[in-house]
Protein backbone atom coordinates (compact mmCIF):
# COMPACT_ATOMS: atom_id res chain seq x y z
CA UNK A 1 0.00 0.00 0.00
CA UNK A 2 2.88 2.28 0.90
CA UNK A 3 4.38 1.85 -2.53
CA UNK A 4 1.21 2.75 -4.37
CA UNK A 5 0.92 5.82 -2.16
CA UNK A 6 4.52 6.70 -2.91
CA UNK A 7 3.94 6.46 -6.65
CA UNK A 8 0.87 8.68 -6.41
CA UNK A 9 2.77 11.15 -4.28
CA UNK A 10 5.56 11.30 -6.86
CA UNK A 11 3.09 11.68 -9.71
CA UNK A 12 1.30 14.41 -7.78
CA UNK A 13 4.52 16.28 -7.10
CA UNK A 14 5.51 16.07 -10.77
CA UNK A 15 2.05 17.27 -11.82
CA UNK A 16 2.23 20.20 -9.39
CA UNK A 17 5.43 21.26 -11.10
CA UNK A 18 4.50 20.70 -14.73
CA UNK A 19 0.80 21.52 -15.09
CA UNK A 20 1.07 25.16 -13.94
CA UNK A 21 4.05 25.67 -16.25
CA UNK A 22 2.12 24.26 -19.19
CA UNK A 23 -0.96 26.34 -18.40
CA UNK A 24 1.16 29.47 -18.07
CA UNK A 25 2.80 28.77 -21.44
CA UNK A 26 -0.54 28.20 -23.17
CA UNK A 27 -1.94 31.41 -21.63
CA UNK A 28 1.13 33.31 -22.80
CA UNK A 29 0.57 31.87 -26.27
CA UNK A 30 -2.99 33.21 -26.19
CA UNK A 31 -1.99 36.67 -24.89
CA UNK A 32 1.05 37.57 -26.95
CA UNK A 33 0.86 38.38 -30.62
CA UNK A 34 0.58 41.25 -33.02
CA UNK A 35 -2.13 42.65 -30.76
CA UNK A 36 -1.31 41.94 -27.15
CA UNK A 37 -4.30 40.92 -25.08
CA UNK A 38 -4.53 41.01 -21.31
CA UNK A 39 -4.64 37.92 -19.12
CA UNK A 40 -8.07 38.99 -17.81
CA UNK A 41 -9.38 38.96 -21.34
CA UNK A 42 -8.01 35.47 -22.00
CA UNK A 43 -9.51 34.18 -18.76
CA UNK A 44 -12.87 35.78 -19.58
CA UNK A 45 -12.90 34.10 -22.98
CA UNK A 46 -12.07 30.77 -21.35
CA UNK A 47 -14.84 31.28 -18.80
CA UNK A 48 -17.29 32.09 -21.58
CA UNK A 49 -16.36 29.16 -23.74
CA UNK A 50 -15.64 26.47 -21.18
CA UNK A 51 -17.86 27.32 -18.24
CA UNK A 52 -20.66 29.00 -20.19
CA UNK A 53 -20.18 32.29 -18.37
CA UNK A 54 -21.52 35.39 -20.07
CA UNK A 55 -18.78 37.95 -19.52
CA UNK A 56 -18.68 40.94 -21.85
CA UNK A 57 -15.82 40.46 -24.34
CA UNK A 58 -15.18 42.09 -27.70
CA UNK A 59 -16.18 39.40 -30.24
CA UNK A 60 -13.10 40.11 -32.35
CA UNK A 61 -10.78 39.57 -29.39
CA UNK A 62 -12.74 36.49 -28.46
CA UNK A 63 -12.32 35.18 -32.00
CA UNK A 64 -8.59 35.80 -32.01
CA UNK A 65 -8.10 34.09 -28.70
CA UNK A 66 -10.49 31.19 -29.07
CA UNK A 67 -10.27 30.35 -32.77
CA UNK A 68 -6.65 31.16 -33.52
CA UNK A 69 -4.26 31.50 -30.64
CA UNK A 70 -5.50 28.82 -28.26
CA UNK A 71 -5.59 26.00 -30.80
CA UNK A 72 -2.19 27.16 -32.02
CA UNK A 73 -0.70 27.04 -28.55
CA UNK A 74 -2.25 23.65 -27.79
CA UNK A 75 -1.04 22.13 -31.05
CA UNK A 76 2.41 23.66 -30.53
CA UNK A 77 2.54 22.09 -27.07
CA UNK A 78 1.47 18.66 -28.35
CA UNK A 79 3.90 18.84 -31.21
CA UNK A 80 6.82 19.92 -29.05
CA UNK A 81 6.10 17.22 -26.48
CA UNK A 82 5.51 14.55 -29.12
CA UNK A 83 8.67 15.29 -31.09
CA UNK A 84 10.84 15.59 -27.97
CA UNK A 85 9.65 12.26 -26.57
CA UNK A 86 10.09 10.62 -29.96
CA UNK A 87 13.65 11.94 -30.00
CA UNK A 88 14.40 10.60 -26.52
CA UNK A 89 13.09 7.16 -27.41
CA UNK A 90 14.86 6.89 -30.76
CA UNK A 91 18.17 8.08 -29.31
CA UNK A 92 17.91 5.39 -26.64
CA UNK A 93 16.80 2.58 -28.95
CA UNK A 94 19.26 3.35 -31.74
CA UNK A 95 22.01 4.26 -29.25
CA UNK A 96 22.77 7.25 -31.39
CA UNK A 97 22.86 10.79 -29.96
CA UNK A 98 22.18 12.18 -33.44
CA UNK A 99 18.92 10.31 -33.89
CA UNK A 100 15.83 12.48 -34.20
CA UNK A 101 12.25 11.66 -35.15
CA UNK A 102 12.97 12.38 -38.80
CA UNK A 103 15.76 9.81 -39.00
CA UNK A 104 13.21 7.20 -40.06
CA UNK A 105 12.48 9.11 -43.27
CA UNK A 106 9.24 10.56 -41.95
CA UNK A 107 9.79 14.20 -42.76
CA UNK A 108 11.09 13.44 -46.24
CA UNK A 109 8.12 11.19 -46.92
CA UNK A 110 5.69 13.80 -45.61
CA UNK A 111 7.06 16.43 -47.95
CA UNK A 112 6.78 14.06 -50.90
CA UNK A 113 3.19 13.33 -49.94
CA UNK A 114 2.39 17.01 -49.54
CA UNK A 115 3.95 17.84 -52.89
CA UNK A 116 2.21 14.96 -54.61
CA UNK A 117 -1.16 16.26 -53.45
CA UNK A 118 -0.67 20.00 -53.93
CA UNK A 119 1.52 20.16 -57.00
CA UNK A 120 1.22 16.92 -58.90
CA UNK A 121 -2.52 17.00 -58.17
CA UNK A 122 -2.81 13.50 -56.81
CA UNK A 123 -6.36 12.81 -55.62
CA UNK A 124 -7.85 15.45 -57.92
CA UNK A 125 -7.92 18.26 -55.37
CA UNK A 126 -10.12 16.37 -52.89
CA UNK A 127 -7.28 15.30 -50.61
CA UNK A 128 -5.83 17.79 -48.19
CA UNK A 129 -2.15 18.55 -47.86
CA UNK A 130 -2.15 17.02 -44.38
CA UNK A 131 -3.64 13.81 -45.68
CA UNK A 132 -0.98 13.58 -48.38
CA UNK A 133 1.76 14.36 -45.89
CA UNK A 134 0.55 11.73 -43.43
CA UNK A 135 0.43 9.01 -46.05
CA UNK A 136 3.75 10.02 -47.51
CA UNK A 137 5.27 9.82 -44.03
CA UNK A 138 3.92 6.32 -43.43
CA UNK A 139 4.99 5.20 -46.88
CA UNK A 140 8.55 6.40 -46.32
CA UNK A 141 8.65 4.83 -42.86
CA UNK A 142 7.40 1.54 -44.32
CA UNK A 143 10.13 1.71 -46.94
CA UNK A 144 12.81 2.38 -44.32
CA UNK A 145 11.54 -0.38 -42.03
CA UNK A 146 11.52 -2.92 -44.86
CA UNK A 147 14.96 -1.88 -46.02
CA UNK A 148 16.36 -2.15 -42.49
CA UNK A 149 14.79 -5.59 -42.16
CA UNK A 150 16.17 -6.76 -45.47
CA UNK A 151 19.60 -5.49 -44.42
CA UNK A 152 19.37 -7.88 -41.51
CA UNK A 153 18.60 -5.53 -38.63
CA UNK A 154 17.43 -8.46 -36.57
CA UNK A 155 19.34 -7.99 -33.38
CA UNK A 156 22.82 -7.40 -32.08
CA UNK A 157 25.22 -4.56 -32.36
CA UNK A 158 24.99 -3.89 -36.09
CA UNK A 159 21.20 -3.67 -36.14
CA UNK A 160 20.90 -0.09 -34.97
CA UNK A 161 23.39 1.09 -37.54
CA UNK A 162 21.32 -0.63 -40.25
CA UNK A 163 18.20 1.27 -39.19
CA UNK A 164 20.03 4.61 -39.25
CA UNK A 165 21.55 3.85 -42.66
CA UNK A 166 18.20 2.70 -44.07
CA UNK A 167 16.68 5.94 -42.75
CA UNK A 168 19.31 8.02 -44.51
CA UNK A 169 18.76 6.14 -47.78
CA UNK A 170 14.98 6.56 -47.46
CA UNK A 171 15.26 10.27 -46.68
CA UNK A 172 17.52 10.88 -49.66
CA UNK A 173 15.20 8.99 -51.98
CA UNK A 174 12.06 10.82 -50.88
CA UNK A 175 13.77 14.20 -50.86
CA UNK A 176 14.90 13.54 -54.42
CA UNK A 177 11.33 12.62 -55.37
CA UNK A 178 10.08 15.89 -53.86
CA UNK A 179 12.69 17.89 -55.73
CA UNK A 180 11.82 16.06 -58.91
CA UNK A 181 8.10 16.85 -58.66
CA UNK A 182 8.78 20.49 -57.80
CA UNK A 183 11.24 20.90 -60.66
CA UNK A 184 8.89 19.22 -63.09
CA UNK A 185 5.57 20.83 -62.38
CA UNK A 186 5.59 23.56 -59.76
CA UNK A 187 5.41 27.25 -60.46
CA UNK A 188 7.41 29.64 -58.29
CA UNK A 189 4.48 30.41 -55.99
CA UNK A 190 3.73 26.76 -55.30
CA UNK A 191 7.39 26.03 -54.68
CA UNK A 192 7.54 28.90 -52.20
CA UNK A 193 4.39 27.69 -50.45
CA UNK A 194 5.79 24.20 -50.10
CA UNK A 195 9.10 25.49 -48.77
CA UNK A 196 7.20 27.52 -46.20
CA UNK A 197 5.16 24.52 -45.13
CA UNK A 198 8.23 22.31 -44.97
CA UNK A 199 9.90 24.54 -42.42
CA UNK A 200 6.91 24.36 -40.17
CA UNK A 201 3.83 26.47 -40.10
CA UNK A 202 1.19 26.76 -37.41
CA UNK A 203 -0.93 29.48 -38.98
CA UNK A 204 -3.50 27.13 -40.44
CA UNK A 205 -4.13 25.33 -37.15
CA UNK A 206 -7.76 25.15 -35.91
CA UNK A 207 -9.67 23.19 -33.27
CA UNK A 208 -10.02 19.93 -35.26
CA UNK A 209 -6.21 19.79 -35.35
CA UNK A 210 -6.19 20.08 -31.56
CA UNK A 211 -8.53 17.13 -31.25
CA UNK A 212 -6.06 15.09 -33.27
CA UNK A 213 -2.74 16.38 -31.90
CA UNK A 214 -3.48 16.31 -28.16
CA UNK A 215 -4.70 12.69 -27.94
CA UNK A 216 -1.88 11.48 -30.18
CA UNK A 217 0.73 13.28 -28.08
CA UNK A 218 -0.78 11.92 -24.87
CA UNK A 219 -1.00 8.37 -26.20
CA UNK A 220 2.58 8.49 -27.50
CA UNK A 221 3.76 9.85 -24.18
CA UNK A 222 1.94 7.13 -22.22
CA UNK A 223 3.32 4.29 -24.35
CA UNK A 224 6.88 5.59 -24.06
CA UNK A 225 6.59 6.35 -20.35
CA UNK A 226 5.28 2.84 -19.76
CA UNK A 227 8.46 1.46 -21.36
CA UNK A 228 10.80 3.71 -19.36
CA UNK A 229 12.52 0.88 -17.48
CA UNK A 230 12.97 -1.13 -20.66
CA UNK A 231 14.56 1.92 -22.31
CA UNK A 232 16.96 2.26 -19.38
CA UNK A 233 18.07 -1.32 -19.99
CA UNK A 234 19.20 -0.38 -23.50
CA UNK A 235 22.14 1.75 -22.35
CA UNK A 236 24.58 -1.14 -22.86
CA UNK A 237 22.95 -2.23 -26.11
CA UNK A 238 20.14 -4.51 -27.15
CA UNK A 239 21.90 -7.72 -26.10
CA UNK A 240 22.35 -6.40 -22.63
CA UNK A 241 18.70 -5.33 -22.57
CA UNK A 242 17.72 -8.85 -23.60
CA UNK A 243 19.81 -10.38 -20.83
CA UNK A 244 18.00 -8.10 -18.37
CA UNK A 245 14.69 -9.62 -19.41
CA UNK A 246 13.50 -7.02 -21.91
CA UNK A 247 11.67 -8.56 -24.91
CA UNK A 248 13.86 -6.55 -27.25
CA UNK A 249 12.13 -7.15 -30.58
CA UNK A 250 8.68 -6.40 -29.22
CA UNK A 251 9.78 -3.27 -27.36
CA UNK A 252 11.69 -1.99 -30.39
CA UNK A 253 8.79 -2.62 -32.73
CA UNK A 254 6.21 -1.05 -30.39
CA UNK A 255 8.24 2.04 -29.64
CA UNK A 256 9.51 2.68 -33.16
CA UNK A 257 5.99 2.32 -34.47
CA UNK A 258 4.55 4.60 -31.78
CA UNK A 259 7.16 7.30 -32.38
CA UNK A 260 6.76 7.03 -36.16
CA UNK A 261 3.00 7.43 -35.90
CA UNK A 262 3.24 10.37 -33.49
CA UNK A 263 5.77 12.08 -35.70
CA UNK A 264 3.77 11.45 -38.87
CA UNK A 265 0.65 13.01 -37.30
CA UNK A 266 2.57 16.06 -36.05
CA UNK A 267 4.35 16.59 -39.36
CA UNK A 268 1.10 16.32 -41.28
CA UNK A 269 -0.45 19.05 -39.11
CA UNK A 270 2.41 21.56 -38.89
CA UNK A 271 5.15 20.51 -41.33
CA UNK A 272 8.55 19.32 -40.30
CA UNK A 273 9.82 21.46 -37.47
CA UNK A 274 13.50 20.73 -37.11
CA UNK A 275 15.75 20.65 -34.06
CA UNK A 276 13.08 20.01 -31.41
CA UNK A 277 13.38 16.24 -31.57
CA UNK A 278 17.16 16.42 -31.55
CA UNK A 279 17.96 19.19 -29.09
CA UNK A 280 15.24 18.94 -26.43
CA UNK A 281 16.20 15.37 -25.44
CA UNK A 282 19.78 16.48 -24.86
CA UNK A 283 18.64 19.50 -22.87
CA UNK A 284 16.42 17.28 -20.73
CA UNK A 285 19.22 14.77 -20.21
CA UNK A 286 21.46 17.60 -19.13
CA UNK A 287 18.91 18.57 -16.49
CA UNK A 288 17.75 15.22 -15.08
CA UNK A 289 20.21 12.61 -16.34
CA UNK A 290 19.62 9.50 -18.45
CA UNK A 291 16.96 7.71 -16.37
CA UNK A 292 13.91 7.53 -18.63
CA UNK A 293 11.35 7.70 -15.84
CA UNK A 294 12.31 11.33 -15.34
CA UNK A 295 13.73 12.02 -18.77
CA UNK A 296 10.53 11.36 -20.74
CA UNK A 297 8.25 13.70 -18.74
CA UNK A 298 10.96 16.35 -18.59
CA UNK A 299 11.59 16.24 -22.33
CA UNK A 300 7.86 16.42 -23.00
CA UNK A 301 7.49 19.47 -20.77
CA UNK A 302 10.48 21.32 -22.20
CA UNK A 303 9.41 20.46 -25.75
CA UNK A 304 5.90 21.75 -25.18
CA UNK A 305 6.98 25.01 -23.55
CA UNK A 306 9.78 25.53 -26.07
CA UNK A 307 7.54 25.17 -29.09
CA UNK A 308 4.87 27.48 -27.67
CA UNK A 309 7.65 30.00 -27.11
CA UNK A 310 9.06 29.52 -30.59
CA UNK A 311 5.61 30.01 -32.06
CA UNK A 312 5.18 33.29 -30.16
CA UNK A 313 8.56 34.51 -31.38
CA UNK A 314 7.77 33.51 -34.96
CA UNK A 315 4.63 35.67 -34.84
CA UNK A 316 6.12 38.83 -33.36
CA UNK A 317 9.76 39.00 -34.45
CA UNK A 318 9.05 40.55 -37.87
CA UNK A 319 6.04 42.89 -37.58
CA UNK A 320 3.30 42.09 -40.05
CA UNK A 321 4.91 38.84 -41.14
CA UNK A 322 5.01 35.29 -39.84
CA UNK A 323 8.32 33.44 -39.89
CA UNK A 324 8.30 29.65 -40.40
CA UNK A 325 8.56 28.22 -36.89
CA UNK A 326 11.34 25.88 -38.01
CA UNK A 327 13.54 28.90 -38.59
CA UNK A 328 12.96 30.05 -35.02
CA UNK A 329 13.55 26.63 -33.47
CA UNK A 330 16.84 26.34 -35.34
CA UNK A 331 17.92 29.90 -34.52
CA UNK A 332 17.27 29.37 -30.80
CA UNK A 333 18.04 25.68 -30.76
CA UNK A 334 21.46 25.67 -32.35
CA UNK A 335 23.14 28.10 -29.92
CA UNK A 336 21.35 26.49 -26.96
CA UNK A 337 22.61 23.15 -28.12
CA UNK A 338 26.14 24.49 -28.36
CA UNK A 339 25.96 25.72 -24.76
CA UNK A 340 24.67 22.34 -23.54
CA UNK A 341 27.35 20.52 -25.48
CA UNK A 342 30.18 22.55 -24.00
CA UNK A 343 28.87 22.62 -20.44
CA UNK A 344 27.89 18.94 -20.57
CA UNK A 345 31.42 18.02 -21.59
CA UNK A 346 32.89 20.06 -18.80
CA UNK A 347 30.76 18.60 -16.03
CA UNK A 348 31.37 15.04 -17.25
CA UNK A 349 35.07 15.40 -16.62
Amino acid sequence: MNEVAAIFRQGFKAACLTVPLLIAAVLAGAMIGETSLSPDLVLSVLANKLAGADLPVDPIDQGIIWSYRLPRALVAASCGAGLAVAGVVLQALLRNPLADPYILGISAGASTGAVAVTIAGLGGGVLSLSFGAFNGALLAFGFVALLARAAGAGGGRAATAQIVLAGIAGSQLFNALTAFVIAKSANADQARGIMFWLMGNLSGVRWPDVYLAVPVALAGWLICRFHARALDAFIFGSDSAASLGVPVRRVQATLIFATALTTAVMVSIVGSIGFVGLVIPHAARFLVGSGHRRLIPTAALIGAVFLIGADIVSRIIIPGQVLPIGVVTALIGAPAFAVILVRGQRSAR
Binding site: E3, A6, I7, P97, F226, R229, A230, D232, A233, I235, F236, G237, D239, S240, A242, S243, L244, G245, V246, P247, V248, R285, G289, S290, G291, G344, A348, R349
Partner: protein, 253 residues
Amino acid sequence: MKIEAQNLTYSVRGKTLLSDVSFVVEPGETLALVGPNGSGKSTLMRLLAGLARPVSGKVVIAGHPVSHLSRRQIAQRIAIVEQQADTAERVTARSVVELGRTPWLSALRPWRAEDTWQVDKALQTVEMADMAHREWATLSGGERQRLHIARALAQQPGLLLLDEPTNHLDIHHQLSILNCVRILKVTTVMALHDLNQAMACDRVAVLSKGRLVSLGPPEQALSLETVSEVFGVKAQWGFSAGGTERFLSYHLD
Protein backbone atom coordinates in the same frame (compact mmCIF):
# COMPACT_ATOMS: atom_id res chain seq x y z
CA MET B 1 20.45 -24.09 -10.41
CA LYS B 2 21.46 -26.94 -12.61
CA ILE B 3 22.24 -26.17 -16.24
CA GLU B 4 22.54 -28.67 -19.04
CA ALA B 5 23.88 -28.12 -22.52
CA GLN B 6 22.64 -30.89 -24.80
CA ASN B 7 24.40 -31.40 -28.12
CA LEU B 8 24.70 -27.70 -28.85
CA THR B 9 25.61 -26.84 -32.41
CA TYR B 10 25.75 -23.29 -33.68
CA SER B 11 26.73 -21.83 -37.00
CA VAL B 12 26.65 -18.45 -38.70
CA ARG B 13 26.41 -18.21 -42.48
CA GLY B 14 27.60 -21.74 -43.03
CA LYS B 15 30.52 -21.42 -40.61
CA THR B 16 30.25 -23.79 -37.69
CA LEU B 17 31.30 -22.07 -34.47
CA LEU B 18 30.27 -24.80 -32.03
CA SER B 19 29.68 -28.45 -32.73
CA ASP B 20 27.97 -30.95 -30.51
CA VAL B 21 28.84 -29.47 -27.12
CA SER B 22 27.26 -31.25 -24.14
CA PHE B 23 27.82 -30.88 -20.41
CA VAL B 24 26.01 -30.56 -17.11
CA VAL B 25 26.81 -28.09 -14.34
CA GLU B 26 25.43 -29.11 -10.95
CA PRO B 27 23.81 -26.61 -8.56
CA GLY B 28 26.44 -24.53 -6.77
CA GLU B 29 29.26 -25.74 -8.97
CA THR B 30 31.78 -23.46 -10.66
CA LEU B 31 32.83 -24.45 -14.15
CA ALA B 32 35.78 -22.78 -15.85
CA LEU B 33 35.70 -22.51 -19.62
CA VAL B 34 39.12 -22.24 -21.21
CA GLY B 35 40.34 -22.26 -24.79
CA PRO B 36 42.30 -20.19 -27.27
CA ASN B 37 40.98 -16.97 -28.82
CA GLY B 38 38.16 -17.75 -31.20
CA SER B 39 37.53 -21.23 -29.79
CA GLY B 40 33.89 -20.38 -29.11
CA LYS B 41 33.76 -19.50 -25.40
CA SER B 42 31.76 -16.31 -25.82
CA THR B 43 29.50 -17.97 -28.36
CA LEU B 44 28.77 -20.78 -25.92
CA MET B 45 28.00 -18.23 -23.19
CA ARG B 46 25.50 -16.49 -25.45
CA LEU B 47 23.78 -19.79 -26.18
CA LEU B 48 23.60 -20.63 -22.48
CA ALA B 49 22.07 -17.21 -21.77
CA GLY B 50 19.47 -17.64 -24.50
CA LEU B 51 20.83 -14.62 -26.38
CA ALA B 52 21.39 -16.79 -29.43
CA ARG B 53 19.50 -19.89 -30.52
CA PRO B 54 21.46 -23.08 -31.24
CA VAL B 55 21.03 -24.58 -34.69
CA SER B 56 20.46 -27.89 -32.96
CA GLY B 57 20.52 -29.13 -29.40
CA LYS B 58 19.15 -27.30 -26.39
CA VAL B 59 19.94 -25.60 -23.12
CA VAL B 60 18.01 -26.70 -20.04
CA ILE B 61 18.01 -24.61 -16.88
CA ALA B 62 16.66 -26.21 -13.70
CA GLY B 63 14.58 -28.59 -15.80
CA HIS B 64 13.14 -25.96 -18.18
CA PRO B 65 14.36 -25.65 -21.77
CA VAL B 66 15.55 -22.06 -22.13
CA SER B 67 13.74 -21.75 -25.46
CA HIS B 68 10.41 -22.22 -23.62
CA LEU B 69 11.03 -19.39 -21.17
CA SER B 70 10.26 -15.71 -21.74
CA ARG B 71 13.10 -13.19 -21.73
CA ARG B 72 11.98 -12.05 -18.31
CA GLN B 73 11.89 -15.57 -16.89
CA ILE B 74 15.36 -16.23 -18.26
CA ALA B 75 16.67 -13.00 -16.73
CA GLN B 76 15.28 -14.00 -13.34
CA ARG B 77 17.40 -17.16 -13.53
CA ILE B 78 20.49 -16.30 -15.56
CA ALA B 79 22.74 -13.24 -15.38
CA ILE B 80 25.54 -12.73 -17.89
CA VAL B 81 28.51 -10.39 -17.90
CA GLU B 82 29.63 -10.05 -21.49
CA GLN B 83 33.15 -9.42 -22.64
CA GLN B 84 32.54 -5.90 -23.92
CA ALA B 85 29.74 -3.64 -22.77
CA ASP B 86 30.21 0.07 -22.72
CA THR B 87 28.04 3.16 -22.97
CA ALA B 88 28.41 6.80 -23.88
CA GLU B 89 25.41 7.76 -21.73
CA ARG B 90 25.95 9.81 -18.63
CA VAL B 91 24.95 7.37 -15.92
CA THR B 92 26.16 6.85 -12.39
CA ALA B 93 27.82 3.70 -11.14
CA ARG B 94 24.86 3.01 -8.93
CA SER B 95 22.27 3.28 -11.68
CA VAL B 96 24.19 0.69 -13.69
CA VAL B 97 23.90 -1.77 -10.81
CA GLU B 98 20.23 -0.86 -10.40
CA LEU B 99 19.64 -2.19 -13.92
CA GLY B 100 20.14 -5.64 -12.44
CA ARG B 101 16.76 -5.31 -10.73
CA THR B 102 14.96 -4.88 -14.07
CA PRO B 103 13.77 -8.49 -14.42
CA TRP B 104 12.09 -8.31 -11.01
CA LEU B 105 10.25 -5.02 -11.56
CA SER B 106 7.05 -4.27 -13.40
CA ALA B 107 4.17 -1.82 -13.39
CA LEU B 108 2.66 -3.83 -10.52
CA ARG B 109 5.93 -4.45 -8.73
CA PRO B 110 7.63 -1.07 -8.24
CA TRP B 111 11.02 -0.43 -6.69
CA ARG B 112 11.14 -1.37 -2.99
CA ALA B 113 13.52 -1.08 -0.07
CA GLU B 114 14.49 -4.68 -0.80
CA ASP B 115 15.80 -3.64 -4.23
CA THR B 116 17.89 -0.88 -2.70
CA TRP B 117 19.28 -3.44 -0.28
CA GLN B 118 20.23 -5.85 -3.08
CA VAL B 119 21.99 -3.06 -4.95
CA ASP B 120 23.89 -2.00 -1.83
CA LYS B 121 24.94 -5.56 -1.18
CA ALA B 122 26.15 -6.10 -4.74
CA LEU B 123 28.14 -2.86 -4.63
CA GLN B 124 29.78 -3.94 -1.40
CA THR B 125 30.63 -7.36 -2.78
CA VAL B 126 32.69 -5.84 -5.58
CA GLU B 127 34.08 -3.14 -3.26
CA MET B 128 32.53 -0.28 -5.22
CA ALA B 129 30.18 1.11 -2.56
CA ASP B 130 32.18 4.29 -2.05
CA MET B 131 32.22 5.00 -5.80
CA ALA B 132 28.48 4.51 -6.28
CA HIS B 133 27.87 8.15 -7.11
CA ARG B 134 30.60 8.38 -9.75
CA GLU B 135 29.79 8.80 -13.43
CA TRP B 136 30.47 5.88 -15.74
CA ALA B 137 32.74 7.90 -18.05
CA THR B 138 35.03 8.74 -15.15
CA LEU B 139 35.64 5.13 -14.07
CA SER B 140 38.59 2.93 -14.97
CA GLY B 141 38.25 -0.28 -16.98
CA GLY B 142 38.50 -2.48 -13.90
CA GLU B 143 35.98 -0.40 -11.98
CA ARG B 144 33.54 -0.72 -14.88
CA GLN B 145 34.08 -4.47 -14.98
CA ARG B 146 33.34 -4.72 -11.27
CA LEU B 147 30.13 -2.76 -11.76
CA HIS B 148 29.02 -5.15 -14.49
CA ILE B 149 29.60 -8.01 -12.08
CA ALA B 150 27.67 -6.18 -9.36
CA ARG B 151 24.83 -5.62 -11.84
CA ALA B 152 24.77 -9.36 -12.52
CA LEU B 153 24.77 -10.13 -8.78
CA ALA B 154 21.88 -7.71 -8.22
CA GLN B 155 19.88 -9.86 -10.61
CA GLN B 156 19.95 -12.61 -7.93
CA PRO B 157 20.53 -15.26 -10.57
CA GLY B 158 20.55 -19.01 -10.08
CA LEU B 159 23.20 -19.19 -12.80
CA LEU B 160 25.97 -16.68 -13.31
CA LEU B 161 27.71 -16.53 -16.68
CA LEU B 162 30.94 -14.54 -16.62
CA ASP B 163 32.89 -13.95 -19.81
CA GLU B 164 36.45 -13.21 -18.71
CA PRO B 165 35.42 -11.57 -15.45
CA THR B 166 38.99 -10.92 -14.40
CA ASN B 167 39.65 -8.83 -17.50
CA HIS B 168 41.03 -5.39 -16.61
CA LEU B 169 41.21 -6.28 -12.91
CA ASP B 170 44.29 -5.89 -10.75
CA ILE B 171 45.58 -8.96 -8.88
CA HIS B 172 43.76 -8.12 -5.68
CA HIS B 173 40.41 -7.71 -7.39
CA GLN B 174 40.94 -10.74 -9.64
CA LEU B 175 41.36 -12.91 -6.58
CA SER B 176 38.57 -11.26 -4.62
CA ILE B 177 36.07 -11.59 -7.48
CA LEU B 178 36.93 -15.26 -7.99
CA ASN B 179 36.76 -15.82 -4.27
CA CYS B 180 33.40 -14.12 -3.97
CA VAL B 181 32.00 -16.21 -6.83
CA ARG B 182 33.19 -19.33 -5.03
CA ILE B 183 31.60 -18.28 -1.76
CA LEU B 184 28.31 -17.28 -3.40
CA LYS B 185 27.01 -20.82 -3.93
CA VAL B 186 25.52 -19.70 -7.23
CA THR B 187 26.09 -22.02 -10.15
CA THR B 188 28.73 -20.30 -12.25
CA VAL B 189 30.19 -20.79 -15.69
CA MET B 190 33.10 -18.50 -16.46
CA ALA B 191 35.42 -18.09 -19.38
CA LEU B 192 38.99 -17.64 -18.20
CA HIS B 193 42.35 -17.25 -19.87
CA ASP B 194 44.53 -17.81 -16.80
CA LEU B 195 44.77 -21.59 -16.50
CA ASN B 196 45.87 -21.33 -12.88
CA GLN B 197 42.70 -19.43 -12.06
CA ALA B 198 40.79 -22.20 -13.81
CA MET B 199 42.61 -24.67 -11.54
CA ALA B 200 40.82 -23.15 -8.57
CA CYS B 201 37.36 -23.95 -10.01
CA ASP B 202 35.41 -27.14 -9.33
CA ARG B 203 35.68 -28.37 -12.89
CA VAL B 204 37.22 -27.20 -16.14
CA ALA B 205 35.96 -27.46 -19.71
CA VAL B 206 38.43 -27.02 -22.56
CA LEU B 207 37.13 -25.74 -25.89
CA SER B 208 39.10 -25.90 -29.09
CA LYS B 209 37.79 -24.87 -32.51
CA GLY B 210 34.20 -25.12 -31.33
CA ARG B 211 34.54 -28.58 -29.81
CA LEU B 212 34.63 -29.65 -26.20
CA VAL B 213 37.94 -31.50 -26.02
CA SER B 214 38.07 -32.22 -22.32
CA LEU B 215 35.94 -31.81 -19.23
CA GLY B 216 36.56 -32.78 -15.65
CA PRO B 217 38.34 -31.89 -12.42
CA PRO B 218 41.07 -29.31 -13.11
CA GLU B 219 44.15 -31.52 -12.95
CA GLN B 220 42.50 -34.08 -15.18
CA ALA B 221 40.99 -31.69 -17.72
CA LEU B 222 44.14 -29.60 -17.91
CA SER B 223 46.55 -32.44 -18.47
CA LEU B 224 49.91 -31.40 -19.83
CA GLU B 225 49.17 -33.03 -23.21
CA THR B 226 45.84 -31.23 -23.57
CA VAL B 227 47.38 -27.88 -22.69
CA SER B 228 50.21 -28.24 -25.17
CA GLU B 229 47.91 -29.56 -27.90
CA VAL B 230 45.16 -26.96 -27.51
CA PHE B 231 47.23 -23.89 -26.71
CA GLY B 232 50.44 -24.73 -28.53
CA VAL B 233 52.69 -24.18 -25.52
CA LYS B 234 54.91 -26.42 -23.48
CA ALA B 235 53.52 -26.84 -19.96
CA GLN B 236 54.79 -28.31 -16.75
CA TRP B 237 53.68 -28.53 -13.16
CA GLY B 238 55.44 -26.49 -10.54
CA PHE B 239 55.04 -26.11 -6.80
CA SER B 240 54.68 -22.89 -4.86
CA ALA B 241 57.57 -21.99 -2.60
CA GLY B 242 55.67 -23.24 0.45
CA GLY B 243 55.41 -26.63 -1.19
CA THR B 244 51.82 -27.88 -1.47
CA GLU B 245 50.03 -25.77 -4.10
CA ARG B 246 50.48 -26.97 -7.66
CA PHE B 247 50.55 -24.55 -10.54
CA LEU B 248 51.05 -24.67 -14.28
CA SER B 249 53.99 -22.93 -15.85
CA TYR B 250 54.30 -22.69 -19.60
CA HIS B 251 56.54 -21.38 -22.34
CA LEU B 252 56.65 -21.48 -26.13
CA ASP B 253 58.73 -24.24 -27.57
